[in-house]
């Protein structure tokens, strides 16, 4: 009774306090910032309303979902100064008790374009004042908050003063998709088709409709890809008439999305499933996982016959055959080997996921993009090849059955770890699909796929360990084993050759030469070790120490100069260079005509234009004849400098094609190009 009375009192107090909206503390703290403290007259400058939610609290997207409200600012601005609409970063879905909310749970910012009238004298004060209103909620309660916001700017030269922060805000905004989407709603199904190149990687896709009444917000979304089309299937909004035009944002990765408009039209049939955030209907996700797991297992199995793995495995099998009289030893060895393989696979997979979560565009075999790792592998593989060739003996291989029983499990574990580490460069061709799926699966499921890969790699050895019949099939040990070992050294040397080539690609000719010198050094040291072993000396390993020290020193100084251009779009038949404003200015200074184009991997129009009109032999000939320089701006990852340049051209997105004839203002070309239009430019 007392508790009820207290609750009643608390309720009454809450109701009394309610009309007083003025608050001193906020659950989401707002700050108004400007990109330039001295905006130039007659230009647009960006300001930002930066929002900082307390832990557990969230703010809302422009379309808040099933409940909530959008953020608004009542401006009081100096005469002539105008503020554009609030721009919203890509939100994320938050389902509470069956109601969908489109929210921000971490720091976010709204960009606002501020126009400063021409003719204002430098030094003029620009006091920006306003009242911002937004809704702050937890899963349990909602608090409408408001705050007076203020910022004092002075008219000046427009030089940016907070570029880094604003570049970050801009990256969080959805980027406008070049093409239009199509949607169809019938029989309780809503289907949306978005043009997106098949080669564009998509992770955790989700469609956020800006138009209300289009889809049922809380319904799960199934996302599939059919060629160059991404298809979102969900339920239409209950009760409402389907709108004639739908705006929205398609999330395609962590904090990145594409804004798009869709019109009624035909939607192609669903294709390959992509795991979606709210994929609650089961089925799809489970099937993807199973397929990925199966693929990983099979891929791992295939790896056993690859040149980089087979010698290691055969060695292990031979040592088993040699020592194989004990059932228990064989099993322990097999399990230790499998543990080594699986642990390394899972560790590499975990590192890959961590890198991707941190925003790196790492792919499988990512470790092979670092020349230092390649050099390490090169030395290791060269040493193994020399060992197989008989230059020197490893204790664990050379020792007889008695020693293997002691050193066995540890030796087997490290053999497995080595096999898995060396195997990754071989994974590519077989594992592409399965690993691709792993990268879009939830991390726990992805780790399962990596473990599956390891299990597949370890499977033959596990079978040998646990099925004595198989082991009995192994040929009896004999002098032929030494011959076999020498032959196995050949694929291992080939692997070393391949690694040297990769090293050359990553670190240039100098890097490759350094690497080969290190390999030679290690070979000489190992040869010496072998000589000492042959004479039966103890402590026969010391010559390796200086060689290893020099190799480690090399790892530190190895140049990291990629031989291939950073942008995939650069180069090609037009000898294109990556875009930068400095390069553009330099080329124009030199009096060369310049063709500049902006593209992105997610922009289908861009890709079609590149294949059909730009990267054509006749265009290349025409451009070469007139000495036309070509610059490519790749905006796939929302490069901030390109974003600023596009905004300066009055564009919010790609594609954009510009032609700078010497001494003339730039011409903006149409978005649909033909080789003829381009060739004609150069005449």
């Amino acid at each position: 009774m007392l508790i009820r009375l207290l609750r009643l009192l608390a309720l009454a107090a809450a109701l009394l306090a309610a009309p007083a909206l003025a608050q001193t503390t906020h659950h989401i703290r707002p700050t108004l910032l400007a990109e330039s403290a001295r905006p130039a007259p007659g230009r647009t400058t960006m300001i930002a309303l930066a929002m900082k939610p307390e832990p557990g609290w969230h703010g809302y997207w422009q379309n808040p979902g099933d409940s909530g409200v959008e953020t608004a600012i009542d401006w009081r601005l100096p005469a002539g100064v105008g503020a554009g609409p609030l721009q919203y970063p890509v939100p994320h879905p938050l389902l509470i008790s069956g109601l969908m909310n489109y929210v921000y749970e971490a720091d976010y910012a709204h960009l606002i374009a501020l126009t400063v009238p021409a003719g204002l004298a430098p030094g003029t004060k620009l006091p920006l004042r306003g009242t911002a209103r937004w809704l702050a909620c937890t899963a349990e309660i909602c608090v409408p908050e408001q705050a007076e916001i203020a910022l004092d700017l002075t008219v000046g030269d427009g030089a940016p003063t907070a570029t880094a922060a604003f570049d970050g805000y801009r990256r969080a905004l959805p980027r406008p998709l070049g093409g239009e989407g199509r949607f169809a709603a019938s029989n309780g199904a809503f289907r949306l088709a978005v043009p997106l190149p098949a080669a564009m990687a998509v992770a955790d896709p989700y469609f956020f409709p800006l138009t209300d009444g289009a889809i049922d917000y809380a319904a799960p979304q199934a996302v599939t890809r059919n060629g160059d089309t991404l298809i979102v299937e969900t339920k239409p909004a209950p009760g409402a008439a389907v709108p004639q035009r739908i705006e929205g944002v398609l999330k395609i990765g962590r904090d990145s999305g594409l804004s798009l408009v869709a019109l009624p039209g035909a939607v192609p049939p669903a294709g390959e499933p992509v795991a979606a955030a709210g994929e609650a209907t089961g089925g799809g996700g489970g099937v993807t996982l199973l397929a990925a797991l199966g693929g990983a297992l099979l891929g791992g199995l295939l790896l056993n016959i690859m040149p980089c793995v087979f010698p290691i495995l055969s060695l292990k099998a031979l040592s088993l055959a040699r020592s194989g009289e004990s059932e228990r030893t064989a099993r322990i060895d097999a399990v230790a080997y499998a543990a080594g393989v699986i642990l390394v696979c899972v560790a590499l997979g975990g590192l890959l996921l961590a890198l991707r979560a941190g925003g790196e565009t790492a792919g499988w075999a990512f470790q092979l993009q670092d020349p230092r790792v390649i050099l390490f592998l090169l030395l290791l593989v060269a040493a193994i090849a020399l060992n197989l060739a008989g230059l020197f003996e490893l204790p664990m291989v050379a020792a007889g059955g008695a020693l293997a029983a002691k050193a066995g499990p540890a030796g087997a574990f490290w053999t497995g770890a080595l096999a898995a580490f060396v195997a990754t460069p071989c994974t590519g061709p077989f594992m592409g699909a399965a690993l691709g799926a792993a990268l879009v699966l939830p991390p726990a499921a992805a780790m399962l796929v990596f473990a599956g890969l390891g299990l597949g790699l370890a499977l033959p050895f596990l079978l040998l360990g646990f099925v004595p019949a198989l082991r009995r099939r192994l040929p009896r040990p004999g002098p032929w084993m030494d011959r076999f070992r020498r032959i196995l050294s050949l694929p291992m040397f080939a692997t070393a050759l391949g690694l040297a080539w990769i090293l050359g690609r990553l670190a240039g000719v100098d890097g490759m030469t350094l690497g080969l010198a290190a390999a030679l050094l290690v070979a000489v040291a190992l040869w010496w070790v072998g000589r000492r072993q042959a004479k039966g000396r103890t402590g026969s390993w010391w010559p390796l120490a200086p060689a290893a020290a020099i190799a480690i020193a090399l790892l530190a100084v190895l140049p990291r100069q990629p031989a291939v251009a950073a942008s995939a779009a650069a180069g090609g038949p037009l000898a294109a260079e990556p875009f930068s404003e400095q390069r553009l200015a330099a080329l124009r200074q030199a009096g060369r005509p310049v063709f500049v184009y902006f593209t992105a991997d997610w922009c289908l129009t861009c890709k079609v234009n590149e294949k059909a009109a730009i990267e054509r032999a006749e265009v290349a000939r025409a451009f070469a004849a007139r000495n036309v320089a070509v610059l490519v701006g790749d905006w796939t990852r929302g490069d901030a400098a390109i974003g600023r340049f596009l905004a300066g051209q009055g564009r919010s997105g790609v594609p954009l094609y510009l032609f700078y004839a010497p001494g003339k203002p730039p011409v903006t070309l149409p978005q649909v190009l033909t080789p003829g239009t381009l060739a004609a430019l150069a005449t």
Partner: protein, 201 residues
């Protein structure tokens, strides 16, 4: 971690599916709920009269905007003066913000001077889910034939600021006026705004 949210999302799908909304022009879902005054109220008993359903949560600032300013009470009084029945429904689950016992609901009605015919308690959320009520407030109008005539917001100014009520178009009174004039409701579905209904898990 993500696998967990995967599983959680699957479990969430059940209540989401139960939110299949009624259609305009189709029979409105019937319900029987206990009122704060202690007697059961059945929607079908009002067949032949226009019924307004108002989803409410006294802890929600958007509900407070309309009660604190007297706008909700005025709307209730105007609807009843026009012959309609007004039922306020609270679908807050026990332990969640805005959940009320009958005594608390009676205290709320008395304090606010509410003009509804009855304040109904729906702690299980069954009536709320049958109507796919998403926000507080969320308004529905059932015509004398028992068919759904309107669902959506109370007005067209989705803010928590009481000062916005003056310039807002009261969508409920507009729809009631059109129905009284024998015309179809011009905007039968509008966007409701406010806090989410605090359903139980």
């Amino acid at each position: 971690m993500r696998l967990m949210s995967f599983v959680a999302a699957s479990l969430m799908a059940a209540p989401a599916a139960a939110l299949a909304a009624p259609q305009i022009g189709q029979p409105a879902p019937d319900f029987t709920l206990p009122s704060a005054a202690g007697k059961p109220v059945r929607l079908a008993d009002y067949r032949g009269r226009t019924v307004v359903l108002e989803w409410s949560n006294p802890g929600c600032p958007f509900v407070q905007k309309h009660y604190g300013s007297g706008n909700m009470q005025r709307t209730q009084a105007a609807a009843r003066a026009g012959g309609a029945v007004w039922l306020t429904i609270n679908s807050g689950a026990p332990g969640k913000q805005g959940h009320m016992t009958p005594a608390e609901a009676r205290a709320f009605e008395a304090k606010e001077g509410a003009k509804a015919n009855a304040y109904l308690l729906d702690p299980q959320g069954s009536a709320g889910r049958a109507y796919a009520a998403r926000t507080t407030p969320h308004l529905y109008i059932v015509d004398p034939q028992g068919r759904l005539a309107y669902m959506g917001g109370i007005d067209d100014k989705p803010t928590a600021n009481p000062a916005d009520i003056r310039d807002a178009r009261n969508r409920v009174l507009a729809a009631l006026a059109e129905m009284k004039a024998g015309k179809p409701v011009s905007q039968p579905v509008t966007r409701p705004y406010g806090c989410s209904v605090k359903y139980g898990a």
